[in-house]
């Protein structure tokens, strides 16, 4: 009897994640917003939830930890466009981050020959523009390569950016740039809003940037562009034969990823107020990639989760901080064995009007099934 019980139990069992997604997709737009808005408010209120299970250990500033986590989240979202959506393994992403930071340094530090009193917003725009251009410059020759070859060349690119900073006198190598300009604004008592010590404004600014980027990247995902990226990831040759100009869209993936990396670099440089060649090594690149892979490459919620794990746990637990590469390495190995798709599997919705279309066509909500075919209720074993 118990055996029978067990069998009937597993036959109807739907994975937890799947149930969550089905529930979410079954909700109306209105209900979805009714959940999203409080969550966003909660995210903004995070700096005031500075108590036991969440707070960092003594010696680590909680607000700055939040800012750093948000910064890595932004980077992971950008890298996810390249790696997760378009399937281009980029090991040199830190290069774009570095370019963003250096643009901020060159424009706003008095150590720089290019210094002038630029408005801070202009620095952001120029930082993004310069990284986009460098994305085109790097992408055009390298994106003719595929898979491992692309990974190797991009790895080289990341190193080239760092070595340029080492060796070009104007970029000041290890000495670096000091006293970078910060965003304008004063509290009512006349003190600056954006300072190095206070993480809260920086955190809010970054969260705002993340939300804007998520909306824009989401727009791309549910369009011809997002479909082209996923088609390229799935089968580049078939995509080209189906009329997708694959090369152009690969360069675009690179450029958009670069823009987001550059934005993150500008924010980072602004908060720290100091830029030198120290923080832009390959290991940092791999750490960014680990966030994407860990959370679930190709899944925006997944990579946000991955970035939080990668960035926040070392700040929260001193032990993790000391052995972080060992721990993340082991975590990745374990994950690759038991859950190669990452914490949350790849899945994106690729139609701007998918909701209505699926409803009309099959009378079901828009599918976002992610897991392996095995978990898809045993259908489609005929192939």
């Amino acid at each position: 009897m118990s055996a029978h019980h067990f069998r009937s139990g597993t036959a109807t069992k739907v994975p937890f994640g799947q149930r969550i997604r089905d529930w979410w997709n079954g909700l109306s737009r209105f209900h979805q917003w009714a959940i999203i808005i409080p969550v966003v408010v909660l995210v903004y209120l995070m700096p005031f939830l500075n108590f036991f299970p969440i707070t960092t250990e003594p010696g680590t500033d909680f607000e700055l930890a939040l800012f750093n986590t948000a910064r890595i989240v932004l980077i992971a979202i950008g890298l996810n466009v390249v790696v997760g959506q378009a399937g281009l393994l980029d090991l040199g992403y830190v290069g774009f981050f570095a370019i963003g930071a250096y643009v901020a340094a060159l424009m706003t530090s008095r150590d720089s020959a290019l210094y002038a009193e630029y408005p801070w917003l202009l620095v952001v725009v120029v930082g993004i523009a310069v990284t986009m251009v460098s994305g085109v410059i790097i992408g055009t020759p390298t994106l003719r390569l595929r898979g491992d070859y692309l990974a190797i060349v991009t790895l080289g690119f990341g190193e080239i950016v760092r070595l340029l900073a080492d060796n070009i006198p104007a970029l000041r190598g290890n000495v670096g740039f000091r006293n970078l300009e910060r965003p304008p604004g004063e509290w009512s008592d006349g003190t600056r809003i954006f300072t190095q010590g206070d993480g809260i404004p920086w955190y809010w600014l970054t969260v705002t940037a993340i939300i804007a980027v998520l909306i824009l990247v989401g727009n791309l995902e549910r369009s011809r562009v997002g479909r082209a990226w996923v088609a390229i990831r799935e089968d580049e040759d078939a995509a080209e034969i189906m009329g997708v100009p694959t090369f152009r869209f690969k360069v675009w993936a690179f450029v958009i990823g670069a823009a987001i990396g550059g934005l993150s670099g500008v924010l980072y440089a602004g908060q720290l107020g100091f830029v030198n060649n120290a923080r832009f090594d390959v290991v940092t690149s791999v750490l960014f990639l680990a966030a994407v892979i860990l959370g679930g490459s190709g899944n925006k919620v997944g990579v946000i989760l991955g970035a939080i794990v990668i960035a926040y746990t070392p700040e929260r637990f001193q032990v993790v901080s000391e052995y972080r590469y060992l721990i993340f390495g082991l975590a990745l190995i374990v994950l690759m064995i038991f859950r190669p798709q990452g914490l949350l599997g790849a899945r994106q919705r690729l139609l701007a009007r998918g909701r209505q279309a699926y409803k009309r066509l099959v009378g079901k909500p828009e599918p976002v099934s992610t897991e392996s075919p095995m978990k898809d209720s045993g259908k489609g074993t005929g192939a």
Binding site: A228, V362, P373, G380
Partner: protein, 317 residues
Amino acid sequence: MTTTSGSTPEMRHHLDDPGTDQPGGLVGEVARMSAEERAEHEAEVADVVAPDRDIEVEVGETLLEMRDVTLSFGGLVALDSVSFSIRRGEILGLIGPNGAGKTTCFNAMTGVYRPSSGDVLLEGRPLGRLKKSQITRRGIARTFQNIRLFGEMTALENVVVGTDARHRTGVLGALLRLPRHHREEREGVERAMALLEFVGIADRAADKAKNLPYGYQRRLEIARALATEPKLLCLDEPAAGFNPAEKEELMGLIREIRDDGYTVLLIDHDMKLVMGVTDRLVVLEFGKKIADGRPAEVREDPSVIAAYLGVPDDDVA
């Protein structure tokens, strides 16, 4: 606009249908329709499936011409100055024994390989050095012998990728959701839905391509290729792995596609299928064209018989 004929969508739904629960949405609606309503619905579907394409040549005139196409890989000559033409509105069969160069011929047309010499002309203009995606947009679409769908995408999304070949929304348009993006999304999804119905797999539109049954995957490939609004549709062994009943249904579908105004090039091993559905045949052997004509003529051609059945030893010398 032409109307569909032959098998009804309902008949085709039974192909590989695992017999799941009651279909909802449009699929269920169609199943519940009366014959009259269904005919009307099918005519609507056909209207969306076969839009007005700008084809410069008249029905019956040469749409695609292979002019002395030679393709060699090192010392191996895969195609040896092959010439034939495909007329608008016909179903042309390309047959030949294994390794005769049929798929190579496809690849030369669709830009996968560039001819070592000779030209492929579509509507009288050479394809030259166009990229594969540009050739598709010029109007040649194909399916693959070994199915190559976008496995992680749903069936509907796969077909919408095909419709994107005709869309012009760029990154900026998508980023800011400009009016063209909205218009193209709406049109693309409408057309993709109609195509899924047309090939008879609308009931599984929301399933990932890799989870579809084999027969559905083959049909999805055809729908995706049709979505690019081709002037010429090339089917590479679409019936591979099908049983006779499924082949029969596929023949019906291919005829319907032709009746909707498409020109079809078909490769298959199955002589019965090819003879039954094509208007004209081209036979290849060892990279050379050995026959070209109506199925009945080709069947009697001694060189074709020799190629397929072999030649007795004493005839060779």
